[in-house]
C-alpha cells in the first residue's frame, strides 16, 4: 500500500484534471470529481466542505428534500439528540459540545437552534434545518435521483465509479462519498418472524394498543421509545433481546438506552406488569396456537385466534411445513417449564431492531465488504473511512459507524460531522496536495494551546478515543494538527501531508475510564491529579511517541486502549466542570509532561530571571529565548510605577556619549536594589 499510494495519487490527480475537462452532458453521462450519495446530514456536511474548497461535486438524493429519513423516523417524532442552547458560554466551538444536531459551517448562526429551541427537538425540525443549511450555503444537491446501481471501472486515468439512476442516466466520479445512512429495517429471520410488525410500520397512536399485551423485540432506543409511547394504554409491555439493557449514562455510548426513553425500566422494577427479558432471537419462535379440534366455545376461540405465543426452537416438533408457524400446546415451553416467563400469549409482537446499510445497489466491483461488528449491518471501512477494497469510495455518516460501533459517537450527527471533516482533509491531501490544516506554535505556547483545545474543542470531545489532536514536535516550535483519525496514526504522514521529525509527536485524546464502576456511587470520581489515570469521566490523555506507531503496534495496543503503549503518557485528572485549567492539578503536571517530551524546561520566567540566565548561560531557557530575547520579557506587575523618572542617578545627556541609565528603567527597582546590594557591597 505504501509504495503504491504515491503512484495512485498521481493517477487520480491526472485523472481529475483530465476528467474535469471532458465533461459530456450528452449521452446522459455526467462527470464529477466528487459524487456524494445522499443529502442527509453526512452528505450535506461533506457538501459544505467540498463547496468551501471549491471542488467539482454533486450531491445526489433520491427524495425530494434533504434528510428524508427524518420525515418518518423516529416514529414518535422526538429527537433525543440534545439541543442545549444555554451553556453560559459564548465560545462557539465549546457550545458545539452540547449541540448534537447542528452541522459544521463557517456561519456562526447556522445552527439547529434557529428552527427549534427545544432540548429534545421535534423530528420535523431536522429536515427543516437541513434545507436551511443547503439553501444558505448554496450546496449543489440534485433531488429525485435514485441511484440503483454503482460500479467501479479501472481505466488508464484511474479508478472511477459509475452511478446509474432510475432513468438509466450515468454519473461518473473519481471519488464516491457514500452517505446513504442506514434505512433498511434490520430483520432477524426466525420461525414466525412473518407474524411480527415492524417499527417502520406500526401505529403510533397509543389508543391502538389499548389493553393489549405487547412484546417488543429489541432493547434499543426505538424499542424503548415505542414502549414508552404505549405504556399508558397497553396492559403488558415486554421487551426481549439477547443482551441486557445498556444504559447510555453508564456506557457513555449515546446509542445505548438514553434516560429520556427509559420509563419502562421504572415500571419493570416497580413491578407494574412490564418487563425485560434476554434471549437470542434466532432461538425463539413466534407462533399461533394450532386448533386441535376439541373446541366447544367457538366464539371465544375466534377471539383468541390472533394471539401470538412465544416458544423455543428446541420445543418444536419436526417435519413442520416450512412456512407454518402454528404450534400445538406440546410445543409451547409452558408445557415443559411451568413457570416459563413468556408462557402467556401476546396481542402484538413488534420488531424494533434498528436499520442496516443498503448493500444492494453496489455492484461487486464497488461493494465494500460487511463489517465484522454490528452483525454485518455496516460496511467495513479503513481508519480513514475508505471502503476496504474500494479505493476512492468513502463511507460517511451513520453507515461509517463500524469504526467506533458501540464505543464513540461516529454513528451520530454530533460525531460524524467531525469524521466527515477528517475525510475531507484526507481528500484534500490525497487529491489536491493540500496538507491538513495545522497551526505552527512556539513550543513555549504549546501548553496554553493544549489547554485551549482541552477546554473548548468539540471534535475530540464528541468523538472521544476516535479523533485526537496530533502535535508534531520540532524543537523550538511545533505543528498542531487537529482532529486526526487516531486509528490511522501509522499512516499519518501519508494522510496528513505532515512529516514527523525525530523530536517525536504527542497525541491528545479525550477518553473515559475503562473500569466498570458504580456510576452514581461515592467512588465514581478521582480528584487527585497523581491518580488521574484512574479518572472515570471524560478527561484528556496525552500520548508521547518518539516515532509514529506502526500498524502492528496499533493492532496489538493494550486492550481497551485507543492507541499503542507510548513512550510516556499523561492523564489530566477528570474535572467536575470539565474545565481543565487549575494551576496545580492540571496545568503544572501537564507542563512537566511536556517538558519531559521536549526535554526542555518550559517554565515561564520574569524578565529579571531571563536577564540573569541570558548573561550567565550561553542561552537562557526557552521561554526567555522566545520572549525576553525577542524584547518581550514579562515585567513584574506588582511594582509601584512612576511616570516621571527621577533623574540624577547618573549625569544625563552628554554629547560625548556617556550612556545614561535607561531613563525608562523603573526607579522603584533601583530602590529595591539598594537594600539588596547593601550586604554585598564589598570593597567598592
Amino acid at each position: 500500500m505504501d509504495s503504491n499510494l504515491p503512484c495512485f495519487i498521481l493517477f487520480i490527480l491526472v485523472g481529475c484534471v483530465k476528467c474535469s475537462s471532458e465533461y459530456h452532458p450528452h449521452n446522459g453521462t455526467r462527470h464529477y470529481d466528487y459524487c456524494v450519495l445522499g443529502a442527509g446530514p453526512a452528505g450535506l456536511q461533506m457538501g459544505y466542505f467540498l463547496s468551501k474548497a471549491k471542488r467539482d461535486y454533486i450531491i445526489l438524493e433520491r427524495n425530494s428534500g434533504p434528510g428524508s429519513f427524518f420525515n418518518k423516523y423516529p416514529r414518535h417524532r422526538k429527537l433525543i439528540s440534545i439541543n442545549k442552547i444555554h451553556t453560559g458560554r459564548q465560545n462557539r466551538e465549546f457550545n458545539l459540545r452540547h449541540d448534537w444536531n447542528s452541522l459544521l459551517s463557517d456561519k456562526p448562526d447556522l445552527l439547529l437552534k434557529r428552527v427549534s429551541s427545544e432540548f429534545y427537538p421535534p423530528a420535523d425540525a431536522f429536515p427543516l434545518y437541513l434545507s436551511t443549511f443547503v439553501k444558505e450555503l448554496g450546496l449543489k444537491v440534485r433531488y429525485g435521483v435514485d441511484i440503483g446501481r454503482i460500479r467501479a471501472v479501472q481505466s488508464a486515468t484511474g479508478r472511477r465509479y459509475i452511478l446509474t439512476d432510475q432513468h438509466v442516466s450515468d454519473y461518473t466520479c473519481s471519488v464516491l462519498l457514500v452517505a446513504t445512512g442506514l434505512w433498511v429495517p434490520h430483520k432477524v429471520e426466525f420461525v414466525g418472524s412473518d407474524l411480527v410488525e415492524g417499527y417502520e410500520s406500526i401505529s403510533t397512536n397509543p389508543e391502538d394498543y389499548k389493553d393489549q399485551s405487547v412484546l417488543i423485540l429489541g432493547k434499543g432506543n426505538s424499542a424503548f421509545e415505542t414502549a414508552q409511547s404505549i405504556l399508558g394504554r397497553a396492559s403488558h409491555v415486554h421487551m426481549i433481546s439477547s443482551s441486557p439493557v445498556r444504559l447510555a449514562w453508564q456506557t457513555h455510548y449515546v446509542g445505548d438506552l438514553r434516560a429520556v426513553n427509559n420509563e419502562l425500566i421504572d415500571t419493570y422494577q416497580l413491578k407494574s406488569l412490564d418487563g425485560l427479558l434476554e434471549a437470542h432471537l434466532d432461538k425463539i419462535v413466534i407462533a399461533q396456537r394450532k386448533e386441535q379440534g376439541r373446541t366447544r366455545l367457538g366464539e371465544k376461540k375466534k377471539e383468541k385466534k390472533g394471539q401470538l405465543y412465544v416458544t423455543l426452537k428446541k420445543f418444536l416438533q419436526h417435519q413442520k411445513p416450512k412456512n407454518s408457524s402454528d404450534v400445538t400446546g406440546e410445543e409451547l415451553p409452558g408445557y415443559y417449564i411451568d413457570n416459563f416467563s413468556l408462557r402467556k400469549p401476546y396481542d402484538r409482537v413488534i420488531r424494533c431492531l434498528g436499520f442496516r446499510f443498503n448493500f444492494s445497489v453496489f455492484d461487486s466491483s464497488a461493494c465494500p465488504p460487511k463489517s465484522d461488528n454490528a452483525k454485518g449491518r455496516l460496511p467495513k471501512v479503513t481508519a480513514w473511512y475508505e471502503g476496504k477494497n474500494t479505493p476512492g469510495l468513502f463511507v460517511l455518516g451513520t453507515a461509517a459507524h463500524s469504526r467506533d460501533y458501540r464505543s464513540s459517537a461516529g454513528g451520530f450527527v454530533h460525531g460524524f460531522r467531525y469524521t466527515v471533516r477528517a475525510v475531507h482533509r484526507v481528500l484534500e491531501q490525497r487529491y489536491h496536495s493540500n496538507p491538513w490544516p495545522s497551526t505552527k506554535l512556539l513550543t513555549t505556547q504549546l501548553q496554553s494551546w493544549i489547554l485551549k483545545r482541552v477546554g473548548e474543542a468539540s471534535g475530540p470531545y464528541q468523538m472521544f478515543e476516535v479523533l485526537g489532536d496530533v502535535i508534531l514536535l520540532r524543537g523550538s516550535h511545533c505543528e498542531y494538527v487537529e482532529e486526526f483519525t487516531l486509528q490511522a496514526l501509522p499512516q499519518f504522514s501519508n494522510l496528513s501531508g505532515h512529516e514527523v521529525s525525530d523530536h517525536g509527536l504527542i497525541v491528545l485524546v479525550m477518553q473515559y475510564g475503562k473500569k466498570k464502576i458504580d456510576y452514581l456511587g461515592p467512588e465514581r470520581t478521582e480528584g487527585d491529579w497523581t491518580k488521574a489515570w484512574k479518572s472515570n469521566f471524560l478527561h484528556p490523555v496525552l500520548y508521547y511517541y518518539d516515532t509514529l506507531p506502526t500498524e502492528e503496534e496499533m493492532k496489538l495496543r493494550p486492550s481497551g486502549w485507543a492507541l499503542p503503549r507510548p513512550k510516556a503518557i499523561h492523564h489530566m485528572v477528570e474535572d467536575f466542570l470539565a474545565e481543565w485549567d487549575s494551576p496545580i492539578s492540571h496545568i503544572q503536571p501537564l507542563r512537566r509532561f511536556l517538558e519531559h517530551c521536549v526535554q526542555t524546561d518550559l517554565r515561564a520566567f520574569y524578565a529579571e530571571s531571563c536577564f540573569r540566565s541570558a548573561l550567565t548561560h550561553r542561552k537562557p531557557p526557552l521561554f526567555c529565548q522566545q520572549g525576553y530575547l525577542k524584547r518581550r520579557g514579562v515585567a513584574h506587575s506588582k511594582q509601584p510605577w512612576q511616570h516621571i523618572h527621577d533623574a540624577g542617578v547618573m549625569p544625563t545627556e552628554q554629547d560625548a556619549g556617556t550612556s545614561v541609565a535607561d531613563p525608562a528603567f523603573p526607579n522603584c527597582l533601583a530602590q529595591a536594589g539598594a537594600s539588596k546590594s547593601s550586604g554585598l557591597k564589598l570593597d567598592s
Binding site: 416467563s341 497523581t530 486492550s559 492523564h571 517554565r603 530571571s609 541609565a661 536594589g673
Partner: protein
C-alpha cells in the same frame, strides 16, 4: 575568593535557587548584619555548586560556612574547612548557625556531665557531646575531641571532661555522654568503641530529619508551583481584577468597538496562561493611567472568543489581524488599518510609553522649521515628561522617494518618533548636516540633536530598519533588564564592567571615571574592539547583575569588576585582574592575552541546554506497578484468546431465557442495538 579571604575572614556562602525569594532575603538581611564580620557570597548556580557536590536541580537553598579565619592553635589546611548548614534557610536559622560557628570548637570542663550546665543562649537548641580525658592521654584525647568536633560542627557542641577532677562521677565504663536539647537535661552515657558511633548518633538523627524534609520536598514537588510567574499569579488568586476600566472585545462587538476609537489597544489573553494573567494586571494599570486619553484599552478573552482570536470573520467584514497563536499578545488597532503588534516588554512602563509614542503619526509630516524644532525637542505627550525618545528624520526631495521610509516608520511606531521632510526644508536640513538628499537622520536619545547619524536610504525597508536600529544602539551601553536583548542580539562578546551603588558624589564620580575608561578602551582599540561590546552594569540599578557576577566568578569580587564573557562559541569567562587599575591600554593588553590564549579563565558560562527542572510524573510506571500488564502491548496470541472467550459467552445466553436481569453483560455482543 577563598584564597583572598584565607586567614582573614570566614566566608558565608549561600546558594539560593532564585533571587527575590524569602531565602534570598534572609541571606541579604543576615549579610547586612554580619557583613563586616564575614565575607558573604551569594550564588544561584554555576560551577561552585558542582564543586560543593550539590545537584543544581536540587531545590533547597544551602548555606556553607567556610572557616578561613586563622584559629589560634589549629593548622589551617590548604582549603578552608567547610560546614554545611543543615537547617532550612531562614533569617533565624542562619543567625543561630552563624553563632554556632562562633562557639568554641572544644570546651574543657572539670565537672560531671550531669552537672555541666545545658548550653546557654544562644546555643540552647544545640546538643552537647561529652568525651572524657585522662591526664595520661590528655594530648591525644584533645586531638580526638577536636577531630570529632570538626565533624560535629554545626550539629553539636563538644565538651571534654577531665576525669582527674573529683567532681566527675561518671563510671569508668562509659567513655562518652550526650545531652539533647529540650528533652529535659538528662545526660545519656555511652561506651564507644569508635568515634563514628557518636557521629552516627547525630547524623542519623539528622538523616531522619532530612528524610522528612525530602518527604516534604516530594510533597511540595506536587503541591507547589515551581514556575515563578505561575506562582505569583497563583498567590494573587484571591484578588479580583477590575476589568471595568477596559472594553471587553467580543466577536460581536469587535468591529463597532474598533471603529469607535482612533486607537484601540487590545490584549489577547488566555485565563490559564500565567504570563497572560501576570501581564493583564500591568495592562489594567496602564488602562487606569490612560482614562480619558482617547485610547480605548480593551481585552479579548481568547478562551471564550475563540473565533475572533483565530481571525475567523463571523460576518463579511474581514478581521484586520492574523490568527493569534502566542499569548499574551497586544495589538494596536486603528479603524481601516491593519493591526500593529506591540513587540515590547510586557510591563506597565514599557507598554505605556509605547502607546504614548504611537500617538503621533509615523512618520509625522513636517512642513515648517518650527515643526522640525518642536519634533526634535519636545516630548510628544505630557505624560512622557522626563523621557527622551529616539527620533528619526527622513529627508526627501519629494514625497515620491519616501514610501520605503514611510514603511519603515510605520513599523517603528511606538518605539521611535519619525518625521518626514521634503522640498526646501529637507534641503536646508541636509545642508546643515552636510548630507545629500535623500537621507535619513537618526537622533538617538543618548546624543544631542546637533550630531545625528546620517544613513543612506537603503534598498528595502527591512534594511533601512536594521540600519536605523543599529544607529540607535549606544556604543557603550549600560545594560539593564530591559535593554539587554537588543545588545545580546549583536552577537558580540561582552566586555562587561560591574560597578557598585554609589553612596555619595565621590562614588558617582568614580563610577563615571570608570565608564570613561571603558570608552577609552573602545576608542583606543578601534577596529580591534569590533568583536567586543563594551558595556557596564550598575548593580544598584540592576541588582540582578549581582548574581550574574557571582555566578561568573563563583564569588563576589571586589567592585568594580571587569569581565569578558559571551565569546562566540566559547563558554569561558575572563576576569580582569582585580588588583590592576582599569585603564584603556592595560585592558587592551589583557584582551590580547585572552586572544593569545595566555590568560586563564575565571569561570564558565552555563550550558545552553535547559533540561526540565523537575521530573515528570510517570503514569506509565505507576500503571505498570499497580496494574501490571494493563498498559502493555498485547501479544498476538492473547488477542485470539479474547475472541474465543466472546464466542463462549454467546453460547450460554440462551439459557438465560428468563427475566433474570442479573445475567452478565456480554461486551461487544449486541446484535440488535440500534443506531
Amino acid at each position: 575568593m577563598e584564597k583572598a579571604a584565607r586567614g582573614k575572614k570566614d566566608i558565608v556562602l549561600g546558594y539560593v535557587r532564585s533571587l527575590g525569594t524569602q531565602e534570598h532575603r534572609s541571606m541579604m538581611e543576615t549579610a547586612y548584619v554580619y557583613g563586616s564580620k564575614y565575607q558573604f557570597i551569594l550564588i544561584t548556580g554555576g560551577p561552585v555548586l558542582k564543586h560543593l557536590g550539590v545537584n543544581e536541580l536540587s531545590h533547597s537553598s544551602r548555606v556553607w560556612f567556610l572557616h578561613c579565619r586563622v584559629h589560634s592553635g589549629f593548622v589551617i589546611p590548604m582549603t578552608c574547612p567547610l560546614t554545611l548548614m543543615r537547617k532550612p534557610l531562614s533569617t533565624l536559622s542562619l543567625h543561630s548557625f552563624l553563632q554556632l560557628m562562633e562557639a568554641p570548637l572544644v570546651s574543657e570542663v572539670y565537672n560531671d556531665p550531669s552537672s555541666v550546665q545545658p548550653p546557654q543562649f544562644p546555643y540552647q537548641q544545640t546538643p552537647q557531646v561529652f568525651l572524657f580525658s585522662r591526664p595520661t592521654t590528655a594530648h591525644l584525647d584533645l586531638d580526638t575531641a577536636t577531630t570529632l568536633a570538626w565533624r560535629l560542627r554545626g550539629l553539636a557542641l563538644l565538651l571534654l571532661v577531665h576525669r582527674q577532677s573529683p567532681a566527675v562521677k561518671t563510671p569508668d565504663e562509659y567513655n562518652a555522654a550526650y545531652r539533647l536539647p529540650e528533652k529535659s537535661s538528662e545526660v545519656k552515657y555511652l561506651t564507644l568503641n569508635d568515634l563514628d558511633e557518636v557521629l552516627e548518633l547525630f547524623t542519623n538523627q539528622e538523616r531522619e530529619e532530612e528524610d522528612e524534609e525530602e518527604d516534604e520536598e516530594e510533597h511540595s514537588h506536587f503541591g507547589h508551583l515551581d514556575d515563578e510567574i505561575a506562582a505569583s499569579v497563583y498567590e494573587n488568586r484571591g484578588d479580583l481584577l477590575d476589568m471595568d476600566s477596559i472594553t471587553q472585545l467580543t466577536s460581536d462587538n469587535f468591529h463597532t468597538a474598533v471603529a469607535q476609537s482612533s486607537l484601540t489597544v487590545a490584549l489577547f489573553y488566555l485565563k490559564w496562561d500565567a504570563a497572560s494573567m501576570a501581564f493583564l494586571s500591568s495592562f489594567l494599570d496602564v488602562a487606569e493611567g490612560l482614562t480619558d486619553s482617547g485610547v480605548q484599552m480593551s481585552a479579548v478573552d481568547c478562551g471564550e472568543w475563540t473565533d475572533l482570536c483565530a481571525a475567523q470573520p463571523g460576518s463579511s467584514r474581514p478581521i484586520p489581524f492574523r490568527p493569534i497563536t502566542a499569548f499574551p499578545s497586544v495589538l494596536l488597532l486603528r479603524p481601516q488599518e491593519s493591526a500593529q503588534h506591540y513587540r515590547g516588554m510586557l510591563g506597565t512602563e514599557a507598554l505605556h510609553r509605547f502607546i504614548m509614542l504611537s500617538h503621533p503619526a509615523s512618520p509625522v509630516l513636517l512642513s515648517t522649521q518650527e515643526e522640525v524644532t518642536s519634533f526634535l525637542q519636545e516630548v510628544p505627550h505630557p505624560k512622557l515628561a522626563g523621557y527622551t525618545p529616539d527620533r528619526v528624520l527622513g529627508l526627501f526631495e519629494t514625497h515620491r522617494g519616501a514610501p520605503l521610509f514611510t514603511e519603515a516608520a510605520k513599523s517603528l511606531r511606538g518605539e521611535v518618533l519619525t518625521g518626514l521632510l521634503t522640498d526646501g526644508l529637507a534641503e536646508k536640513l541636509a545642508a546643515e548636516h552636510s548630507v545629500d538628499l535623500p537621507a535619513v537622520l537618526v537622533f538617538p536619545s543618548w546624543r544631542t540633536h546637533a550630531h545625528p547619524s546620517a544613513l543612506p536610504v537603503s534598498n528595502s525597508a527591512e534594511e533601512l530598519l536594521s540600519h536605523i536600529n543599529t544607529a540607535l544602539l549606544h556604543p557603550l551601553p549600560e545594560l539593564t533588564v530591559e535593554n539587554l536583548p537588543s545588545f545580546l542580539s549583536l552577537g558580540k562578546a561582552l566586555l562587561l564592567l560591574f560597578v557598585g551603588e554609589e553612596e555619595d558624589e565621590f562614588g558617582r564620580r568614580q563610577n563615571q571615571v570608570l565608564v570613561e575608561e571603558m570608552r577609552g578602551v573602545v576608542e583606543l582599540g578601534g577596529r580591534r574592539m569590533e568583536p567586543y561590546l563594551a558595556c557596564w552594569i550598575h548593580l544598584g540599578r540592576t541588582p540582578a547583575g549581582m548574581s550574574v557576577l557571582g555566578s561568573y566568578l563563583g564569588s563576589m569580587p571586589p567592585l568594580p569588576a571587569l569581565v569578558l564573557t559571551h565569546l562566540p562559541s566559547r563558554g569561558e569567562i575572563y576576569q580582569y585582574p582585580p588588583n590592576m587599575p582599569i585603564g584603556a591600554p592595560s585592558v587592551l593588553q589583557w584582551l590580547q592575552r585572552i586572544e593569545d590564549g595566555t590568560e586563564s579563565a575565571a569561570g564558565l558560562l552555563g550550558e545552553d541546554s535547559w533540561p526540565p527542572a523537575v521530573k515528570f510524573y510517570d503514569f506509565l510506571k505507576i500503571m505498570d506497578m499497580q496494574e501490571p500488564n494493563s498498559a502493555q502491548q498485547q501479544t498476538p496470541e492473547e488477542e485470539e484468546e479474547v475472541d474465543e472467550k466472546e464466542v463462549n459467552m454467546e453460547e450460554d445466553v440462551l439459557e438465560e431465557a428468563t427475566d433474570s436481569s442479573s445475567s452478565s453483560p456480554t461486551p461487544n455482543n449486541n446484535p440488535h442495538s440500534e443506531l
